[in-house]
Structure formats: structure tokens, C-alpha cells
Amino acid sequence: MSELRAVRRLRPDIEPLDDASFERIWSDVAGTSASDPNPTWSTEFDREQTFDIGAPPNTPRRHRALTAAAAALVLVGVGAVMGIRSLVDGPDPTVPAAQPPPAPASDDSGPLPPATVGEHVLVLPADSVEPTYVQRNAALPHRTRGLVSAPDGSTLSINLFENFWGELPAEMDQRDIGGLTWATTVEDTNRGYVTVDECTMLSVNAGPNGAAWDTDAVALMNSVRFTPDSITIDLPDGWQTIDVGPVGAWYSMSFDPGIEGSPDVTLTQMPGSNAGPLLADFAGRPVTAITIDGSPGWQVPLDNDGWTQTVWQNDSGSMMLTSKGLDPGRIDQLLTQLSPATASDWDTRYSDQDAGADSSIADPVCEPATLRGPSQGT
């Protein structure tokens, strides 16, 4: 057993702090209540967050299809297994975001295969490579995320959250755009906009330090239409969908890539899913289209120190590599050192060191009859 794994096993279990104690601590410090009468709002759902999906909700809720239409057409089917493909035109790596590379030759408009035990849907390093961090996360069954680009190459993410209930708090800065009421928020400097309908929330995120009601954001919001059965985003001329897709289960691990001069890399794999959910975190950042392992990909700089995020999509699903100083050629070289594996292989090799999913965030259950009152539900 590795030293780090041995220390992990010694981690004391701590019962969570009860709400009353937290409230008392917070009140002592801040002089205000930590409780909020309104539903919690988040305009950017962190990929690190996971939901306790537990038993599927059996309360009434509405499934809708999300359609983003433009020169690049993306269609999301909503159901137990969802898949999408971007149908886009030729690559131009010199143009950030606006020109994603073509889909792989095997690509069609059909759904990607779901991640199931027994299929080779993951890649893993050799047995001799010991990861320094391992975490497997459950799929988020009611979430669809993706990234779109404006004509100037700036990027915005869209996030559909079904089975969501709530109303826009009155104190939020709100505007009516395209027949919908949108509210703007800032979290961690990220500018976001949200609109809600029965059991559905849609957010648009402009990224760090975005000005409120920026022209691009308003244009995107103005292209959104809710109908009883679908949500359509009819992108304006010059806009492109980089990728959109449902949030599937994902597997992350950090390890030494064995490439001289390269620090540990972190590889995140989301089998059976498109790259949209992985790309959605990069709203407001420059995204450069590249090719990785013969598949369409995108690269995003993380800092000025050479760290980058590289996302790509192949027949098995989507992947993201956090690395420093690795160009696409060296990433291809790294990939040749990885071997196909199944989810069972992952469990066999890493279950004892998997950091595990954070189940502290409950999947909300939409109960429109309760929310709207008896007249709506009967």
C-alpha cells in the first residue's frame, strides 16, 4: 500500500456540524443569519459538486428538450440516456472558439454509448503508475451543460437544470428579455444570468468579471424560447455551439505522466458524454480548437505559468487533461501510454483510494403542485 493511501485510511470520520451550531457560529461572527428564505441559487454549477441521486424522484416534473440552433446545430434529447453531437464545419485553430474542428469520421448524429461495466470506456495508466488522486463521481441526471461562442470568439456557457424549483428573488437585478424574466448574479466574480420556469432553470454564464447585461449575454438570452415541450436556443447569426451535452458520470485521477519536465497531470473522463459539460466551466475564457488523438478538441489556458486544460471527444466519450507545458503532440504521446479499461477495472484498481463523491448536495425534487398551490396541482 502506498504511503499516501495509508494516510488516507487514517482520516478520522467527523460528523457534520449541526445546523443550529453553524447558525450560532455564523451569527456570532457576521451578526446575521446564515439561513436564507429563498432557494439557493448558483449560476455556475461546479463540476466538483455531485448530487446524491438516490432514488429517482417520482413527483411531477416536466422533461423538455433543449435545442440550440445556429450554423452549428445541437440537439439534446432528454431521457435516461442522452447523447448529442456537434455538427460543425471545418477547423481553423487560429480562430479561438469560433471554428471547432470537424467531428471524427465515425461520428454521426446518434447518441454516444452509455458508460456501462464491461465496455472499454476508460483509459488508465500502467499498473506501475500510482495515481496521487482518484475520484469517481455519479452522473447528474437532470443537468445539461455546454459552451457557445459569440462572433467575436468570446464564450458563454449554458446550463439547463431540470427538476429545479424556485422563483427569482425579488431583490435580484432582473430584466425581461425575449419574453422571459432573467436575473443576474455574480459568484466568485463570474457573471451569470438565470431564468426559471416550472421545474426548470436555465442559466447563462459569461465568466469572470463580466459586465452586467453585456451585449453578447443579452443576445444569447434573447435567443432562448421556452415551450411546453422544449427549450430552444436559436443562436443569432455568427454564433456557434462549441458543444452541449448531459452531465454523465466522470472519473478523475492525477498521476505522473512520465514525460520529462512535466508535473503530475489530471485526467478526467466522462464516458458516454459529450464534451459540453467539461467545456462549460470555461465561459469567458479563450478556447482554441485543436485535434487530440485524431479527435476534435479544445484547449484553454489556465494561467500564465503554462497550465492548460485540454478537452476532447472521441467515440467513447469526452476527456479533459490538466497539464503544464504539454502541447497536443505530447498529449498524444501520453495517450499512447494509457490502456483501455472498464469501470470495473477502475474500481478494482482504485476503489481503496477513491476520494469518493460528495453527497452533501441533494438533488432537489420539483413539486410544482406544492410550489404553485392547490389551484395549480388539482
Binding site: 495509508a6 494516510v7 467527523i14 455564523w26 466568485d188
Partner: protein
């Protein structure tokens, strides 16, 4: 932000000082975060990581206070005055000769910053990059420290696995 991350911070603090003191230290961490929020730089890392850095500082100050207190007691009563993370002293729940106890002893004997790097990484599941941000060091320094820590712990584990090499 505080509500979102408070639970994690509390667990982190409680693992190091126990539940009772963790509540006080959580309040200290919140107070410090509120006072210094204008210095939070999102380009360097998330709020969660930033809060871990604050909590780590709070822990360090806490132990310094404890050390001063114990030193004062020592002057008065001639008692020994040493202090480390309470949870890293060999706990009663494990056999002092067990591999767990020996590993905990080895962790307790680490340089305090090395120990912080190790436990943020292994107990709080922060990435190496996040640990670097939280402790205001470079990712390279974190990796160097982890490499050193692993070597020291490996030696401790080897001793455990080879009874003839155990220290008395």
C-alpha cells in the same frame, strides 16, 4: 460561500483539534475571511481553497497559542511543554504497536508544513495545485514536500513491516 464551505472547513478543523475547539476555530476562520475578503484573488484559486488556506493559518496560530500556554505552565509547574496536532498524537483507539499508530507517529513527527501539505492532500482531497494555493507556495514546492513526506513515511511503514527494525 460560507454556508457552502463551512461544513468542509469544520470537518478539516475537527480532524485536527477535535469538535469542541473546531467550532471556535471555524468562527475565527470565518472572521478572518470576512475581514480579508477584499484580498481574495479568484485568479489564484477558488474560494474553497482560499478558505482552506485561512483555516490552516488559524490552526497554526492556535497551536502557537497552545504552545505559549503550555510553556507558561511549564515554568510554573515544571511540566513538559510540547504540542502537536492532538489527533496526530497516537490515539488511544489504536494499539501503540499497530501499523496505524506507527504511521500516525511518523505523520506527527513531520515538519509542520510538510504535515499540512500531506493532510490537505490526503484528508481534505485538495489537489496539489490547490494545496499550493492554500499554503501560498508553488506547485513544485508541494510536490517536493510530498516526495519527501512519502520517503519518510515509507521508512516508517518499512519499520512496521520489519519487526527487527522497529525502534524500541
Amino acid at each position: 460561500m460560507y454556508v457552502d464551505h463551512g461544513a468542509d472547513l469544520f470537518r478539516y478543523l475537527a480532524r485536527r483539534v477535535g469538535r469542541d475547539q473546531a467550532e471556535d476555530l471555524l468562527a475565527d476562520a470565518f472572521r478572518s475571511a470576512i475581514e480579508s475578503y477584499d484580498r481574495f484573488d479568484p485568479s489564484r484559486g477558488s474560494e474553497r481553497v482560499w478558505l482552506y488556506g485561512i483555516a490552516s493559518n488559524v490552526l497554526r496560530h492556535h497551536w502557537r497559542r497552545e504552545q505559549r500556554h503550555l510553556t507558561a505552565l511549564q515554568r510554573i509547574g515544571g511540566q513538559s511543554a510540547t504540542t502537536v496536532d492532538p489527533l496526530l498524537t497516537v490515539p488511544d483507539r489504536v494499539d501503540a504497536e499497530s501499523s496505524s499508530a506507527r504511521l500516525l507517529q511518523a505523520v506527527a513527527a513531520l515538519d509542520p508544513t510538510d504535515r499540512e501539505v500531506l493532510l490537505l492532500r490526503c484528508w481534505e482531497n485538495l489537489s496539489s495545485s490547490d494545496v499550493a494555493v492554500a499554503l501560498d507556495m508553488t506547485p513544485g514546492a508541494v510536490r517536493t514536500r510530498l516526495h519527501r513526506v512519502r520517503a519518510e513515511l515509507r521508512a516508517a511503514i518499512d519499520n512496521t513491516n520489519h519487526p527487527d527494525r522497529r525502534t524500541p
